[in-house]
Amino acid sequence: MIRIDSVTKRYPDGTVAVDRLSLDIPDRAITVLVGPSGCGKTTTLRMINRMVEPSEGGILLDGKDIRQQPVNTLRRSMGYVIQNAGLFQHRTILDNIATVPRLLGRPKQQARARAAELMERVGLDTALAKRYPYQLSGGQQQRVGVARALAADPPVLLMDEPFSAVDPVVRKGLQDELLRIQSELGKTIVFVTHDIDEAIKLGTMVAVLRTGGRLAQFAPPAELLSAPADPFVEDFLGADRGIRRLSFFPTTELELQTAPVVAVDAGAEQLASRAGAPYLLVTDLDGRPLGWSEPDRLTAGAVDTDRLLPYGRPFVPGTDSLRTALDGAVLSPTGWAVAVDGEGRAVGVVSQQVIGEAIRTAHSRVAEQAAEHAAGQAEVKAG
């Protein structure tokens, strides 16, 4: 565990970048430091590998003051990823990744073999090994940056706004990749960003810092969204935190209806039996959704697929959250969301009303859990 213990960073000109900050950063989880510019998040991160020395307070790594070991030994035990990757343009991709193993004195061949292994791990084609950084796209360079940080298999990974210089599509890919890598490697990651959505997506714990380097709230993302500590955090979370919170509610218990789903070759009898539903979802012969239609507009055996209403974005029950399901329902003019399996075949449909009930159920469950938790705490105290 990394314990930041009442750390202050004051610069000679009097500006205070970090003000008596204390944080316990859990092992094998992603802790995100987020806040507006000037909130000291990068300074805090850079104090962990002593790129910046605190004016007051100290930082403990597994109970030991980080100043007890030589600074370069400390840094080599922590992966470091920065914005724009900071690759060495005169070295090939492979040699960039092999940097820290080489610093640790590993033989060249061994370091390069390890580097090639890491290229695969971060989703880079090993054909790029002999290329130079300028021949890679921004997203690829950032992957190299992550691979380089992981090369010596450090237990800790420090990431300073690593994805903020790439476009949103590439950024999403990099975030998903980071979550996948983290699920495989289980590093202690400290991640700095100014993007609250990124913080909520990646963080196991999120520390919101306010200007002047003071901690506003330190909580798991779901708690941040449901119970922001003060107006600053609430404001920073943005207007749609209620919707975003739905990302943490599962779709496993949504009751799907299969009756309104018909195949494109449905016969007259089948159509007649479904006439009670306000809308029918028409699928192709493999079961993939094509669109919605009012039942009386459908002609048996000859569905005009051009006249179907759009069905929004389908969700995968159990995998996607209620947010995705609600989004699908809101996107479709019928107000119904389409559930599909992994192959994209329709497995049922669900209305906005049903999703709404599921949301209320989820809320009350969270409230119950909080109450139980509070009761438990009270008992502990009473005992």
Binding site: R76, Q83, H90, Y134
Partner: protein, 222 residues
């Protein structure tokens, strides 16, 4: 007779190709003076430029020294040193080195200063010692500029080393100065042609050195 005729007459005279005043001897002397001056200038200019560039300090002092160095007339300095020190290589080396240090020093300083700070930050953050940050991260990227400073210095030395002949030393300047004195224009043109040729060879050597030492990742568009 025109310049080409003079040059032709000079180079086709077999007497000019051997002996203590032959072309090979004078050429070798000229190369030796130039190399020595360049090495001394580099030994002063490179370390100072690298360190000041790396730590980002002393830029103004450097600019001042460089301007002063450039303002000093080499020929005047030579005569002064000659009067002061007397015969020998030293009074020749001093003006040549004074001439060559500023371009090496200032370009090296600028080259290191202009290296993208983010790889340097990444290198430090990964636990790379400062000397390695300088030599393995900054220098390889700054190398094309550093080489261009050395090249400028080398060419200035090659062309200015002719003044060594004024203080009775050898080198290709011998032909120019003796020729002028003897009103032997073949000799003057021949000597001047050789100096110009050597300057071009110097250019070619630096071009080749850049091809060999600068990483393809840094060279890219150039």
């Amino acid at each position: 007779m025109n310049v080409l005729d003079f040059a032709h007459a000079f180079f086709s005279d077999t007497a000019h190709w051997h002996g203590y005043d032959g072309i090979p001897t004078r050429f070798a002397e000229h190369v030796r003076y130039s190399l020595e001056a360049l090495l001394i200038a580099a030994a002063i200019g490179l370390p100072v430029g690298l360190l000041t560039g790396h730590y980002g300090r002393g830029g103004n002092t450097l600019a001042l020294l460089a301007t002063a160095g450039r303002a000093l007339p080499s020929f005047g300095l030579l005569v002064l040193m000659f009067i002061w020190i007397g015969f020998g290589l030293l009074p020749v080396m001093i003006p040549l080195v004074v001439l060559a240090v500023p371009p090496i020093l200032v370009t090296t300083y600028e080259a290191i200063r202009s290296v993208d700070p983010s790889p340097v930050d990444a290198a430090r953050g990964m636990g790379m010692p400062e000397t390695r940050v300088l030599l393995q991260v900054e220098v390889p990227v700054a190398l094309p500029l550093i080489l261009s400073g050395l090249r400028t210095a080398a060419i200035q030395i090659v062309s200015t080393a002719t003044i060594a002949a004024y203080v009775s030393l050898g080198g290709l300047g011998r032909y120019i100065i003796d020729g002028l004195y003897q009103k032997d224009y073949e000799k003057v043109v021949g000597g001047a042609t050789l100096v110009a040729g050597l300057a071009l060879v110097t250019l070619a050597i630096f071009w080749a050195a850049a091809r060999l030492t600068v990483s393809p990742g840094v060279r890219r568009g150039t």
